[in-house]
Symmetry: C2
Subunit: 434 residues, 2 copies
């Protein structure tokens, strides 16, 4: 019988949970160092008490940056087997979290399978599932229906739920008068907005936030406060709609912490590079250091087909400036649902961004991996290079396809190889080039 | 008969050249605005007087960031037809410069073909060609041989040459004592280093710099001052070897400017993200605003196979902090010579980095493209989106492969599409989701 509800409550009581111990170990921290971070909300350990096969991870700006993979079936892509392949690929590639965004058919079996088999954190967006679960159209759903689905997901063992609590009826006018280029591009946010427009009611995720906190506390579900107004293009970046919602997310963070409920805050989206750091710093102050979970930010709107790259640029800068958790973006973003290969490309781009940021912000152990790769390159030790590579198969395949004439050359320069020339020069050997 | 030698001399005399006029137009600048930038060396227009089919471009931190493609045959990759395919693909994708790094066989015909047919700037690294041209091994070459090859390239119409003038005999000791992880990874730099070690002589590109300036002045060849000591791994970033060479490159910049010779300065390389801005700022001061031409910087060493992405992250930050010219990096970097598909991936990643940076630094017209894309996305106008996309074919292909059920949805969410929901909500329509 546990003598605490959430990881936050445990930390506040000074209880060192199994999860906290494991996270401290992974992060090369003392539990004494990690405990106050969890107690104060600066680190979350998303660990639903019903997700028993979880390998816990901490999320917070002083820890290694974590990455999330979105998947799930939809009307346009209904094959659960393909989604399961994406799950396996995600785990293999080291994703820390998987969000099941399923919005078609019977969503229960896949979600339960994930929780029972998957060691990564599982997240959902309950509002997607509400329409599906009750098989009633959006306007016909009640606030109670939404809460019932949150409870269902909590019971099922989901570790974190995205809830768009930060928009209110005032947002309707604001969006109308402010004339954003892209209005609301958050899928869940647009559903809340549409529901408010059609029913005339206040946002139920805002109005009944206290009820929601009770559910989340009971199962230790971390709330990921959704940013309905995240900019969907550069022109909407850092505008009043976005920042006013962020102010409200800060207030909601405080209310959750008062109930010992763990909170992350979601962030942009599309942003010009020069606005990213400012966004990260403002989130840190407004939300008092709660972990920032960003989607992108994508740094240009004109690269459909390559948004894993636009997001890697933005994500690296965001994480280096304080974001703790990156949602992957795949090459299919803005175009279609990702296939298994897109999932792989998205994960690797996110991992690069996260790792580059961890080096920049001095996360423990991050740079060591690069130093070992440099040693392997200097000594032209190809096996060691494969071991150190983020994706050994791909790296190996490129070299195997086009093997150089001389194995003692680094790759593509033949005897012009700088590594070879320098190794010879520094040991006083004659350097033949021709 | 032209009444000036170089574009810099013309600008200093107040002569508005054809090239300056075209560059001003492309950059949406008045010639009166551009002229002092060229006169002071802050912008270069690489335009060899023998490269008559050139479509001139300016390179400087206040202009659109330009990108360069490296190609050329080597012993491991001897097929000039493949290289010509890369050239055509580069031009089609909008590369601004092509460096012919050929180091095998008869290099003259390909170089001359490039200059006679290619509207992009052409660059070379004459030291590569020296060994090949004379068919004598490195140690047997004399300073005069190196100068003769520079003159040959200048006569052939090459617009800019990379010369590793900044290392000296002192560098030999420095590299030995400083114990870098990767020593020298610049190919040309390693050849100069090897030549100095074997002959006992001073760096001829440093010792005979005045002779070189005379050649460059005669043909208006821009010198791209090579950074022999650019870091080849994160551990070597911003170390004394790199920065001391940069100090010397600043001195050499000044000497070139005294002779009206145009100069760019080459830079890293591999750098942790948190060192990039500092590097750009120091280059700006030490080299008095001469355009900075960077290779990467690559922000982690552990991603072979994905270095177009690691370089896009670093390149975007570098360009946003003042770099003017990005050398592309392909997925094959560190592994093999790039094939045509790698060249494409490298160019697109560089273009994304350059454009994202141009938005961030407020280059004229840069953001307009993104705003037009946002308009096309809001109105779900797919044809307009293809027109605005950086690679329309790839974007179109992804969508065509996986067409959604409803054409009025943005892509992958079916009726959950946020754009569709918002368009309906804001026009007061009923929003059906199920």
């Amino acid at each position: 019988m546990r003598n605490y509800t959430t990881q936050m409550e445990a930390a506040r009581k000074g209880i060192i949970t199994e999860q906290l111990k494991k996270v401290a170990e992974k992060e090369r921290m003392d539990v004494a160092e990690l405990l106050p971070l969890v107690a104060s909300g600066k680190v979350v350990i998303c660990a639903n008490k019903n997700h028993t096969c979880l390998e816990p991870e901490g999320i917070g700006s002083m820890l290694r940056t974590k990455i999330n993979v979105n998947l799930g079936v939809s009307r346009d892509c209904k094959d659960y087997d393909v989604e399961m392949k994406k799950v396996l690929e995600s785990i293999r590639l080291g994703a820390h979290a998987i969000m099941d965004l399923s919005s078609h058919g019977d969503t229960i079996p896949f979600r339960r399978k994930l929780v029972s088999e998957c060691p990564a954190m599982i997240g959902t967006v309950p509002i997607y599932d509400s329409v599906i679960h009750f098989q009633r159209d959006l306007a016909a759903l009640t606030a109670k229906d939404f809460l019932d689905v949150i409870r269902l997901h909590a019971e099922d063992g989901v570790d974190f739920v995205t809830l768009h609590c930060g928009i209110t009826r005032k947002t309707i006018d604001q969006i109308r008068t402010h004339k954003r280029k892209m209005n609301i591009v958050s899928r869940g946010g647009s559903l809340v907005f549409a529901w408010m427009c059609m029913t005339g009611n206040e946002n139920p995720f805002y109005e009944f936030y206290d009820e929601i906190l009770k559910i989340c506390k009971e199962y230790d579900v971390t709330i990921s406060l959704g940013d309905a107004c995240r900019p969907g293009c550069l022109a909407d970046g850092s505008d009043v709609c976005q920042i006013e919602e962020l102010v409200r997310l800060g207030e909601l963070t405080k209310r959750a912490w008062e109930q010992n409920v763990q909170v992350m805050v979601e962030g942009p989206g599309h942003l010009p590079m020069d606005q990213i750091e400012a966004n990260m710093k403002i989130q840190q102050t407004l939300c008092m250091g709660a972990p920032f979970y960003v989607l992108g930010p994508i740094v240009t709107d004109i690269a459909p087909g390559y948004d894993h790259i636009t997001a890697a640029i933005g994500g690296a800068i965001a994480a280096a400036s304080g974001a703790a958790f990156l949602c992957y973006v795949t090459p299919a973003e803005h175009l279609a649902l990702p296939n298994v290969e897109d999932v792989k490309q998205g994960i690797i781009a996110s991992k690069i961004a996260a790792h580059a940021a961890d080096i920049a912000k001095g996360v423990r152990g991050a740079r060591e991996e690069d130093d070992r790769m440099a040693d392997a390159r200097r000594t032209l030790d190809w096996d060691a290079q494969w071991t150190r590579a983020i994706d050994p198969e791909t790296a190996k395949m490129i070299r195997e396809e086009r093997k150089p004439e001389h194995e003692d050359t680094c790759s593509m320069c033949g005897k012009f190889c700088a590594v070879r020339s320098m190794n010879k020069a520094l040991s006083g050997e004659y350097i033949d080039i021709l």
